[in-house]
Amino acid sequence: ACGSDNEESKAEKKETNTVSIMLDWYPNAVHSYLYVAEEMGYFEEEGIDVDIQFPANPTDPLTLAASGKVTIGLYYQPDVIAARANEDIPVKSVAAIVREPLNRIVYRSDDPINSPKELEGRQVGYPGIPVNEAIVKTMVEHDDGDYEKVDMINVEFELGSSLISEQVDAVSGMYVNHEVPVLQSEGHEIDFINPVDYGVPDFYEIVAVTSDETWDAEQENIEAFWRAARKGYDFMVENEEEAVQILLDYQDEVNFPLEKEIETESLSILLPKMESEQGFGTQDRASWEETANWLKEYGVIKEIPDIDDIFVNIE
């Protein structure tokens, strides 16, 4: 049981049927379907109010979902497994949103890193999210390097600024569809390495996470939320341009300015990675197992947790 305070807030949520969702990062094309669903009234049709929140710290979507402070957090598949395996945190994924890694190791072109082994002795910035440590470790070791010699620095959200201001030599955690083109469009010469080329499996980049307790208490709401989100996704697939426009209309211009061109391009990269034959969001047991095995192999987790606890598919 998770304290009376929690139960109270949940009771409240039920009455108003509010679903709060914390994005994995500040809003960009990967979140278009949510804004579409909001704009087109799909959430309303399902009888729920959606409160979209942005994280103040990169790790908040998972921690706040786990502590019941938000209904759903968008996070990374390996971290869900690690939380479950290492600390027995009762969280589960309810949908796979992006089915392939978007994460890249990015470096400045004038200070190139030709292969992961060259990260030895270099400073690598990352947003404090543990999966990045696993990725860099896997890549360096796959390339016969020594991960112990890599200097991993938690830079919170300052991936771009720390790289550009040369405070770090490379960063892990930038997305190939968004941060990378944003930096490039501002005239910075950067390049990147794809983790999948160096032993990192094809994990789900973004999954929707909730806590076991929230799931038990608010399953109906979450399912309603997901039905609406699917409709948003379907609309987005059909009307790419309009979907981007809706995102841009919803943007918080001062805080999270978006470039139309970049977001359009970004969405076209994303769509194939979001598509699933069984329907948007459906998760394969195999992917979870593969990712868990990878984490175990590289010592991120000691035991593979019960896969059935970790995810649930919404019909």
Binding site: A56, D60, L64, K69, F157, E158, S161, E186
Partner: protein, 246 residues
């Protein structure tokens, strides 16, 4: 004004050097020039003042308000009960050497992104100076005057309101003058840790946007709040403690 002539000259020189340096370095996301900050402040005035400022002000007001109420109540209780004083005062003093603020990240887990995680940080940072100085104020009540009141047959209530409260006021205001700027800092730090609006939040967000002037602009506003609040307390103090005017 004349008294501050040298200070004004010094600040002007400092701003000019900064301006020149910033223009020379020419990397405004690292070092924006004062003029850039001023322009940004003007551009963002509506957003900063109408949207983010009220959020931060609410945190400061609620945090400071709770600190004041709890702090003064605790100080009075310690003044009344010696047992309470013996139990709590040493803890209060020791707690000041403890970086409780380092626990702030966990408040986000307890209170989410609601206003309360920020309010708690503000309370933690302002509670101590208010409580300790108010209590020290009560303790500073002259023993001789207390005895004088006793010899005049004053009731406990009269002793409290006519002697102890006035005696504690100067020290209470000193504490408040320390706490007020700290409340601004507390709100800003609280907003780093989890917020969706507020000046501290806005400043950090701007960093991610490579917007140096945008980082500084809300901090200018925060500073003005700090100074205004401080001046308010000083004026209030002058008014209430008018007998101290020479």
């Amino acid at each position: 004004m004349k008294n501050y002539l040298y200070s004004i000259i010094l600040i002007t020189v400092f701003l000019m050097i900064w301006e020149a340096g910033a223009r020379f370095v020419h990397a405004s996301f690292i070092l924006p020039a004062p003029t850039e900050i001023a322009i940004k402040l003007w551009e963002l005035k509506a957003e900063l003042l109408l949207y983010h400022l009220p959020v931060t002000l609410a945190v400061i007001a609620i945090g400071l308000g709770i600190s004041l109420v709890l702090g003064v109540i605790l100080a009075i209780s310690m003044n009344i009960s010696e047992t309470l004083e013996k139990a709590i005062y040493p803890i209060l003093i020791t707690s000041q050497t403890i970086p409780i603020i380092a626990l702030a990240p966990i408040f986000v887990l307890w209170f989410g992104y609601s206003i309360w995680s920020k309010v708690i940080v503000t309370i933690i940072i302002t509670f101590f100076p208010i409580t300790v100085s108010t209590f020290d104020g009560f303790r500073s009540t002259s023993k001789e005057l207390k005895e004088l009141f006793q010899t005049l047959g004053a009731s406990k209530r009269q002793l409290f309101f006519k002697l102890e409260v006035p005696s504690a006021l100067p020290s209470f205001f000193s504490g408040l003058k320390v706490a007020v700027p700290m409340s601004v800092i507390g709100a800003a730090i609280g907003e780093w840790l989890g917020a969706q609006a507020g000046l501290g939040y806005f400043s950090r967000r701007m960093m991610t946007q490579f917007n140096g002037a945008g980082v500084f602009a809300p901090i200018v506003v925060l500073s003005l709040i700090g100074i205004l609040l401080f001046i308010t307390v000083v004026l209030l103090e002058k008014y209430i403690l008018k007998w101290r005017r020479s």
